[in-house]
Symmetry: C2
């Protein structure tokens, strides 16, 4: 099974190597990212995408921004440059919470080392180590989700997924697709039906690509075909990722997820949400408190370089929807599988 | 309110005038169709589409094919040429049941007149009159559906529709959109949410266009947004068209219809199917007997002139799905509104 390397650090070349996802699904091109400016561009134009992968990119990006500062620089000046570089990189995608989180984490590490009066080379080294730690933690988190989800898939021959919560959104195995990759490692191929996921087609472009590369059987469908796929008994379960999960289990994810959840319930098919602990936001009581971004109409009317709706037509383009907790069979997390009742069980899992 | 003239007969120019729908939604171009060859092409490349509109086109097409035959031709030879022209035109779209039906109808008319020893000019005139009759019957049928559906929409502010069952699929008012047009004539504008309807985007291209032209408020959404539109209370009813309806009420229609029906039930929103009597096929017991065409994968992977999925990817592309009768609140037909229980009430309406 060939595994895609979404984002890695090459210590040999001393560069960040990542897949240019703007070229997918037609070309698989690995880019060497050598400067913070190149990383800014990679994040901005979505060469790298998916919250966890963007976080990792941000951490490496900060390192690329400071590694060539002279080792003779005064520590206070070094920290001041570091702050500027971090602010610059954070502005590449102003809504990416994970980007800020990861940048902040390597910054804190560097500042702590600076406060301890370590030398500039030592601070640089410590910052890179923290970035690598973020990368390895992500790999571990994905694998945990994969292993924890595996028992749920014992009798499952085919699953349906929506959008891309796969290896190309993280460092390696993904979240929703992790149990499928782990099953494949053990020699069991689960067939995946991938919703194409309008308007931006992450399912057709990204999920289909990475599963095809991994040798896992995958069938692309239009979003409106999920109902008929279920009615025909072609899938036994649904697994999706999540953007934000409230204390009661209500889950915000890519637009269309909620519809799939309703259909799964109607067809008595289990509906699983796979996500790391960091996606659970227990400070939010329910899905009602999750703001839903509306994106511009061209994504729908002109999504493929060609106008496919009348000029001046009104469009409604919410980027996410909220799936009420009652439609969710269980959460597959790096801390284990969490079953209902969610209000109690999420607290137990994440507030101890 | 400006009404589009999908397909008409111009007695002044002695030609069929139709909207070239391949130019929609960006250009509104009326074409004069002067020969049977031009009509063959118009049907083949989908300049004209929608079962009723194609039928009308076929009827006029046969007339265009024989009108220039010399009036001195022997009747038997005339009929022989007529047969060849009809066969030729029928091959323009080999699965269009309505096309064969309409061609057959004008043929029978012509042959009946030939059997009565009428002159060639009289046969030609009779054939054109039969084609015009098909056109006017279609207009009447649409208007009836519109009027019959109107009382159901008394308290409805916004509806959701899927695909295009509008004026551009018929001669004028359409089926699913007919009640909305009739309401607009009476000064009441009902807001329409139009599913874009992947893979071929009939909703975004055709439904949005004709409603916009008619001055009816319309919002285009991706198919996977219907669930969130319902959850937010933005629509009070769903109306769709139908391709074929079985004796028990099971309804085959454009792929995605079934999913919308499930969502409507979950959100307690009435789900109406609008269709003329000719769509009800009481010889079929249930939806299980309706064959579902699978179309080629390029419609999904390369639907906008650009490859949007990996090369060689497997695709599932059913053109239709079947909505079980239990999801349908009522049928809106040219013979009235038909409520459940459908097995009895459809028989009563169509077998008397």
């Amino acid at each position: 099974m060939s595994r895609l390397k979404t984002i890695e650090w090459s210590s040999k070349k001393d560069v960040c190597v990542l897949i240019d996802q703007t070229q997918l699904p037609l070309k698989l091109i690995y880019k060497n990212i050598k400067t913070i400016e190149e990383m800014f561009d990679a994040i901005k134009v979505l060469k790298v995408r998916g919250a966890p992968a963007i976080g990792i990119a941000g951490a490496f990006g900060v390192y690329l921004g400071i590694r060539n500062i002279s080792n003779q620089t005064k520590t206070s000046e070094f920290v001041s440059i570091l702050n500027k570089k971090a602010d610059y990189l954070a502005s590449s995608r102003p809504t990416a919470v994970n980007l800020f989180w990861a940048i902040n984490r390597v910054m804190i590490k560097a500042k702590t080392l600076a406060d301890l009066n370590l030398s500039i080379p030592e601070i640089k080294k410590g910052l890179l180590e923290e970035a690598l730690k973020i990368l390895y933690e992500d790999k571990r988190m994905c694998r945990k989700i994969g292993e924890n989800g595996l028992p749920l898939l014992k009798k499952i021959k085919a699953i349906l997924t929506h959008c891309n919560a796969g290896g190309l959104a993280t460092s390696e195995l993904g979240t929703a697709l992790a149990p499928i990759y782990v099953a494949a490692e053990q020699g069991r191929l689960i067939h995946v039906f991938a919703d194409e996921t309008r308007p931006l087609l992450q399912g057709a472009r990204i999920t289909a690509f990475e599963l095809q590369k991994a040798g896992i059987p995958v069938t692309v469908i239009c979003d409106n075909m999920a109902a008929t796929v279920m009615a025909r008994g072609l899938v036994d379960a649904v697994i999706v990722g999540a953007d934000r999960i409230a204390a009661n289990g209500d889950t915000a994810n890519k637009i269309g997820t909620y519809g799939v959840a309703v259909l799964a319930k109607t067809h008595n098919i289990p509906f699983y949400v796979a996500a790391p602990a960091s996606t659970f936001d227990l400070s939010i009581k329910s899905g009602k408190e999750i703001p839903i971004e509306e994106r511009n109409s061209e994504e729908i009317t002109c999504g493929f370089g060609k106008q496919t709706a009348p000029y001046g037509i009104k469009v409604f383009n919410p980027a996410f929807d909220v799936t009420p907790a009652k439609y969710i069979s269980a959460f597959i997390t790096d801390r284990g599988v969490i079953a209902p009742p969610f209000l109690q069980n999420l607290k137990k899992a994440f507030l101890k």
